[in-house]
Homo-oligomer: 349 residues x 3
């Protein structure tokens, strides 16, 4: 679907200083480098300011520092934070080109008689809402999604198709939950018992649930386990990418962002405003303070008490070279001892 609009309408809705004709039409938002006539683009990083001259975009969203250069080549919208402006433009745009169908409970959905469904709730085809569940106003439940017994879904929260929300779990307001997400499966807890040839494992029932705050986004196929004795807690404004694993009893502070494939083991506590890179691993029972950045592929094996950037990925190289270096790594400690011995021989003082 094409959403034709004018620069004037955009500026009237989202603000910013429009340099250029309000009547100019745009039909898509696009990247600066592949923009053509009809495209509105943005320049978020002044490093790429040189791309301004060459772009075919009808309009470029820029910061004040780039206003002159942008205007020299065509229309511009000047705003202190072009990237944030772009985010808001994308939301306004999506609401125009992808209007939600009117809310309704599809006749094929299976909704328990005692579920509480507020006004304006949308329940898709073949969704299941179990006994005692509470769905607040304006929430949307996708096709095939299951809302378990006594679970609660906050106002305006949108849940995609094929999601599983287990019993007693709570989602806040305005959350977005993507397909394949599993909230409230059992945490992984077992007590060893003596078996005939070694330990066997006795299940510890997971008696807690999951509580998710407001404005949380949860990516496709991500899992958040229910707590063992108390709840697993996801703070407000947390953003989780796809295929993340959150163990039981984990607590994640407000406005922390976690990229795909990251695993957080049981009872870890993550602060607020952290940025956790993709495929990071957080050890169980540790604490990470506020405002910590963890790089991609980094395994955090103990608590972090100081804000900052932490890394621990193995550097890649051509295979032949890696083979030699990796093999030597197994001799690294003895190598240090050899260096120490040499130092002593040369300077025995």
């Amino acid at each position: 679907m094409i959403a034709e609009t004018t620069l004037g309408e955009i500026a009237a809705t989202l603000g910013g200083d429009l340099l250029g004709e309000a009547a100019l039409r745009v039909t898509r938002i696009g990247p600066l480098e592949s923009a053509d006539a009809g495209t509105i683009a943005f320049l978020a990083n002044p490093r790429y300011a040189s791309q301004l001259a060459g772009t075919q975009a009808t309009c470029v969203i820029v910061a004040p520092a780039s206003a002159e250069a942008a205007a020299a080549r065509g229309a511009a919208i000047v705003t202190p934070d072009p990237y944030l402006y772009f985010a808001r433009l994308s939301q306004w745009w999506a609401a125009r080109v992808r209007p939600l169908p009117p809310a309704a409970i599809h006749p094929s959905a299976v909704v328990a008689a005692d579920a509480q469904i507020a006004a304006g709730v949308d329940i898709g085809p073949l969704a299941v809402v179990e006994s005692g569940a509470v769905i607040a106003e304006g929430a949307r439940i996708g096709s095939h999604t299951v809302i378990g017994r006594n679970a609660r879904v906050g106002a305006g929260t949108r849940i995609a198709a094929n999601v599983s929300i287990a019993f007693d779990c709570v989602l806040g307001e305005r959350c977005i939950v993507h397909s394949g997400v599993v909230i409230g499966a059992d945490g992984f807890g077992f007590a060893p018992a003596k078996g005939s040839s070694g330990p066997e494992w006795v299940k510890i029932e997971q008696l807690g649930a999951v509580r998710v705050g407001d404005d949380v986004e949860i990516g496709a196929n991500t899992c958040i386990d229910r707590g063992a004795l108390e709840d697993t807690v996801i703070g407000n404004g947390v953003k989780l990418d796809n295929l993340i694993q959150i163990g039981h009893n984990v607590r994640i502070g407000d406005h922390t962002v976690i990229a795909a494939f990251t695993g957080i083991a049981g009872s870890a506590v993550i602060g607020r405003h952290c940025l956790i890179g993709g495929a990071a691993r957080i050890q169980g029972h540790i604490e990470i303070c506020d405002s910590v950045t963890v790089s991609t592929c980094t395994f955090i094996s103990h608590s972090i008490k100081k804000p900052g950037n932490y890394s621990g990925a193995y550097p890649f190289e051509e295979n032949a070279s890696w083979e030699k270096n990796a093999a030597t790594l197994r001799q690294l400690y003895p190598l240090r001892q050899r260096v120490r011995a040499l130092e002593k021989k040369i300077d025995p003082s």
Copy 2:
């Protein structure tokens, strides 16, 4: 739901020596440090015995060595293995606070006419049981779960919502399968064929299936692929966490426990009573003997023939320091050669 009970009832059901009044009431199981009146807690690790004095718990489950200290502050249940006692208590508790609804086949489920459904089987809303499937007594099939053609589900096995069990696959008795699990998707097998610009890939049909033993638990969104020629086999009592990948033809020995995000490549054979840490990787076509512990984030690239603990995670550090060390790692083998040269110069004998 609150499950009020008495210490007397707990001890009568699960055993242990009750020190204190049998009539004392408890309303929840909780951690020692956040316990309040009405809480029954446990002390599994004698290292935390100092927490006994300060806890508000009504009753603490302890080992004989801590009996005196526990009784000095209130009621106690004394048992040789408090953690195991806690596990059994959690199971008894869950059965009280979360009684399963009576088994029934929901009218919205789609069950093939020739599927064999034993007595007391529960089939949730919108589940699908395909032709020739066999569901044994007391099994529970969650909403939206698909049991494929000729698949078999053992007695008492509980399968959550949105699970996919493909044709011909077999689950044993008393298994627990969480949401989003996929059992019996095709293993990843292709033969290269010469294409115009490089190899193209011809599918090898996966003619085996998956056989899962008794008392196996399988975490949310975990995948177990069907075998290429023979079956993929999961032993009895195996516990798999969330988001695990088990490749085709893998065999996992009884009572092995595997944490989240671990990937086991095709045709690997894992022994019994192993503990495989989170995000571990097991190379294909290798063997790991019984009683091996693999640490988190460790890549097992060749067979292990000796029980023990094996590790291989990159240590994290502050980013600036990591950058220097990681860059140097690419020069590690030459560094060793330089040390060797120094050693020869200093001690040329």
Copy 3:
């Protein structure tokens, strides 16, 4: 199901030189080492030629170089590429033992009135096909699978149970999509906005979609995110294993193969005919040229412009030894400086 056939029928269908009686019966395809009478096996790797003498297989598929040795012990089919022959045999075999049921739209499926369903399409129980979706001839949609608004599924494509294809996404012809796959969930994009205690995150709507080429296979629980402004693109003949994450705007070249748990961050571009090992990580916004092999567990942090093999996994060892070496790794850069100092002292020239 047993598929009894004769060597003559196999050779007539798939070619190859049959050495032995055409009337000999085979009842399964099996590995050389566990073959018994009735098995047809193959010898792909001449290294295992010594297994020929001992196998009980009725027939072995071999390359010309092994023809004599194979024929000395029983029947053989001689073909230039035994592994490729085996792949084709497996396909022919599967079509015999697992004939697809006749295509039909199950009465429990929910198909929008304006969806375009071609002839011979199979739509399983409780599948959902939303408004404007187009399903080409011979496609098969599994139970509980959701085909979103205006999505398109190419001819002959087979989608398993519990798959989520979001609106506007396109799948080519003859694709195979396994259970739990999510295509077209939102990419992970947010702009920071100033909050009271640190950055908060404003959603960037993902205005693109996903385009998947022909002959693509997508493993269980794999996620392919929709693009932010343009589409995420998967080339023809690409094979994706289970639990893979493909970020928004990624482009993957034709006939590239990617193993399980690999994560490809947003806007990365992967060439054609690449082999990406399991649990590899590809950084966002980088480019990998054609014909690159990335080893298991390797993090590709910057672009690769030269075909070849690249690796970067930490080698595992016994835990005690790893602890010493890993701790020393944190001192690697200073260690190099110490070696340099020693070199200067010994040879100050």
